[in-house]
Every structure is written in structure tokens, then in C-alpha cells.
Amino acid sequence: MNKPRIERFTFPERMTHWLTAISFVYAGLSGTALWSRKMWWTASVLGGGETIRAWHPIGGVVFALLLALMFRRWATQMKIDADDRRWLAVSHKYAIHDEAGVPESGRFNAGQKMLFWVQSVSAIVLFASGIVLWFPELMPRGLRLIAILTHPLAAVASLGGIVVHVYMTTLVVPGALNAMLRGWVTPGWAASHHAKWFRAVQRK
């Protein structure tokens, strides 16, 4: 077998993504312990309450920093254009694989772009409110009161995005996971899911 391969994600892109993912999973899991006493078992698994109290913020900061790297790398590619807007308008058809009339996507489809922006905005909110919650003794009460609400709200948004993201990349689009793990896709995969990008790559 010697199928032609197209590089989808570079090594630094993949590393950044997966480190971000790990920090997200850690912050998310430890965060759920802080979220609800019914989820406290995650704290036990992760080394106990004091441990997650100490490491959750650090995990969060790592996540935010890595996400900032991703942002720098991809922000320009994530601009929503006219095609994307049309894509979004017919995204329900995309969901049931009735792709007639769904505009072709570039390197990232509009859904992925939305995920990117949701995660970026959530991360900023999580980071800012997280700092406030990290050092409650140094923060004015008003800020803490805002943070204690916005932090979980942003976490919900972020988590919602990730649920969709994980489902899509693992189960709905075979090959997507491999693309992020090994970095390549087949021309057919590329042509199927990211036709515009495929053509651009081909032209090169």
C-alpha cells in the first residue's frame, strides 16, 4: 500500500493541539470537582481536594497559554467568510450528511471555525475569572462575585464546544482523529471534507 498522503497538520500544530487537549482535560476534570460536590470523586482520582486546588489553576493557565499559541497560529485562517456564513445557514443539512447545497470548505469548515472562536472567547473569560478565583484574598469582592459566575458559564460554553468537537472528530468523520494524530489525510478525505483546501493544496 502506498496511498498518497496530504499533510493536514504540521508537527507543531499537532503538539500544540494535544497539549492543549491534555490541559483541557485536566482542568476540566478537576474543574468538575469544584463544579459540583457530586463530582468530587474526580478530585479524589486526581490527588485530593488540596491538590486540585493547587493544580487546577495551573492547568488552566497552561491551557490558556497553549490556546493562545493555537490562536496565533490559526487566527488568520479562522476568519469567517461569505461561504462560511452560507455553510452555517445550512449546517443542519451538513449534520445529516445531505451535503448538496452545503458550500465547500477550506482548511477549516465553518463549524470548526465556530469551535475555535467559542474556545478562544471562553478561554479569555476562563483565564480572567480564573485568576480572580485563584487569589480570592487579593481580589475585591465585586470581581470575585462576577468571576464565580462567569467562570462556570465560560466552562459550560467551552465544554459544550468540546463535546461536539470530540464527537465529530472521533465518530462522525473517520480520519479526522488520524489527521490530528499523525498529521496526514488521503486526497479523497481532503477532497470530501475540505474541497477548497484540497484544491489549493493540489495547485501547489
Binding site: 462556570p152 463535546v163 479523497g188
Partner: protein, 261 residues
């Protein structure tokens, strides 16, 4: 089990600070140097090693020189904001007798209780990274002794007993004060937090802020929102997401790459 309570009759407070020091001594708190802030008040506010503060307020009320003094400490709310906000099981417990007690063994030092408290009482220790506050001397109460501040108070401004009995005393005292011409006298016990197990009698119940007490204490709405609707929203998003994925996968299935070479 009957609820226990502390009654603070501010009309009898002379700002002697016996309660402050009794608390320090019983709880073996280290003494620190106070700061001078143009007042007789010992500390600007409560601290992790200072759980009981008399607040002094010099002001004129109806043209007369007044100097209000009132003890400030954990109010042991029935609906306690600290407990609501606390993520760590067993870190804050509400005993059957109504005492809200912090168990530092279980405390993780997140400080959510500090934000959740409508009275701004709990304090984080910079060394142990745990949160501390008045325990209403739960160790003493457990063996039938009154809290140490109560015992020390020379003028009987402080008293200890069952919540019902003290409520009765407080109302009676407020009535007495009103009969003596203090029309605004009343009882302060935080109905917004389901009632507190620390009950105040104030000569000027219309202006609790002048005693350093919040006007209408309730659990901050952001905390309530978080622990209520936001939590449900989160559950809905997470579990809803999973469910939708399941349905989608079974009904629609994966996307095949249709343009193979």
C-alpha cells in the same frame, strides 16, 4: 435538636474587646500587631487568625454624638452562603444545633466560601492555605459550655442559649427599647439567609450599616445563579450533548469520504 444561638445586645456593648481576646485565647491564635487607623478599632477587618472583631463607628445620629460599637463574626446562617459555595465535601458542616463549622482537614482553600458569604466573614490563611472563621466554639458547646466570647463579656451584651429563647429575649429587649423612646430599635437576624444563629438587638435597626452590618444580607445572586441555573445549564449541555451525539450516530452515522480517488 434545638438550635443554639448567640444574642448580641449592642445597647450593652462598651467596646471592651474582651470577646475579641477571649476568642484569640481559646482558639490559641497568635497575636499580631494592630494598625493605627484613626479609630479605636483593633483590626481593619476580620482575619484568618482573628475571628471576632468589634467595629467602632463615630457618627452623629439626630444631632447627638454617637459611638456605635458592635461585635462582628460569623453569623451561622441557616441558609449559609459559604456552604452553598463550598465544593469540598465535609469542609463546611452545619451541625444539627445550627453551628456552621469549618473543618480545615477537608478544606481545600479555594476561597469560594469567602465569596459566597453575604457577611464577608471567612478568611484564607496565607500559611496553611485553609479558610478559618468563628466556630461558635463548637468544641465548648459540644460539652455544654458556652462559647468563650459569651463567657467573657462583662456587660452581658452577649448571651448564649437556644435560638427560640434568645429570639424571645431579643424581641422583648427591642420592645423595651422602643418603649423607652428608641422608635427604631429592633432585631437583626438576617431573614434573607433563612435567619442567623447570631441575633442582634440594635437601637437603630433602620441603619444596620452604621453597626458594620449589611443592610439586607442574602446569598450573592451570582452564587445562587451558579449553584442553580448555571449548574443545570451545564448538565444540560454536557449530557444533552452526549445524548444528541448518541442519537445522531445511531440515526445518521458517520460521514463517509465520498470522493475517493
Amino acid at each position: 435538636m434545638q438550635k443554639v444561638a448567640k444574642l448580641i445586645d449592642t445597647t450593652l456593648c462598651i467596646g471592651c474587646k474582651a470577646c475579641e481576646v477571649a476568642c484569640q485565647q481559646w482558639n490559641d491564635q497568635e497575636f499580631t500587631m494592630g494598625v493605627f487607623n484613626n479609630t479605636y478599632q483593633t483590626m481593619p477587618s476580620l482575619a484568618h487568625n482573628f475571628w471576632n472583631l468589634i467595629q467602632f463607628n463615630e457618627l452623629e445620629i439626630n444631632g447627638a454624638q454617637s459611638w456605635l460599637m458592635a461585635k462582628y463574626q460569623c453569623m451561622h446562617c441557616a441558609d449559609a452562603g459559604c456552604i452553598k459555595a463550598c465544593p469540598a465535601p465535609g469542609a463546611i458542616v452545619q451541625n444539627a444545633n445550627g453551628i456552621v463549622d469549618f473543618n480545615q482537614d477537608n478544606c481545600i482553600g479555594c476561597g469560594y466560601c469567602i465569596t459566597g458569604c453575604p457577611f464577608d466573614v471567612p478568611r484564607l490563611s496565607p500559611t496553611t492555605k485553609k479558610v478559618y472563621k468563628c466556630s461558635l466554639c463548637s468544641d465548648r458547646v459540644a460539652v455544654g459550655l458556652e462559647p468563650s466570647c459569651i463567657k467573657a463579656c462583662p456587660t452581658s451584651c452577649l448571651s448564649f442559649g437556644t435560638r427560640d429563647a434568645l429570639h424571645h429575649n431579643a424581641s422583648k429587649r427591642a420592645e423595651e427599647l422602643r418603649a423607652d423612646g428608641h422608635a427604631q430599635a429592633g432585631v437583626y437576624d438576617g431573614p434573607g439567609v433563612g435567619g442567623t444563629n447570631v441575633i442582634y438587638v440594635l437601637k437603630h435597626a433602620d441603619r444596620p450599616q452604621d453597626y458594620g452590618l449589611p443592610k439586607d444580607p442574602h446569598i450573592p445572586w451570582t452564587v445562587s445563579l451558579w449553584k442553580g441555573p448555571v449548574k443545570w445549564l451545564g448538565n444540560a449541555v454536557f449530557f444533552g450533548g452526549l445524548l444528541t451525539a448518541l442519537v445522531h450516530y445511531i440515526k445518521v452515522g458517520p460521514k463517509e469520504a465520498h470522493r475517493d480517488e
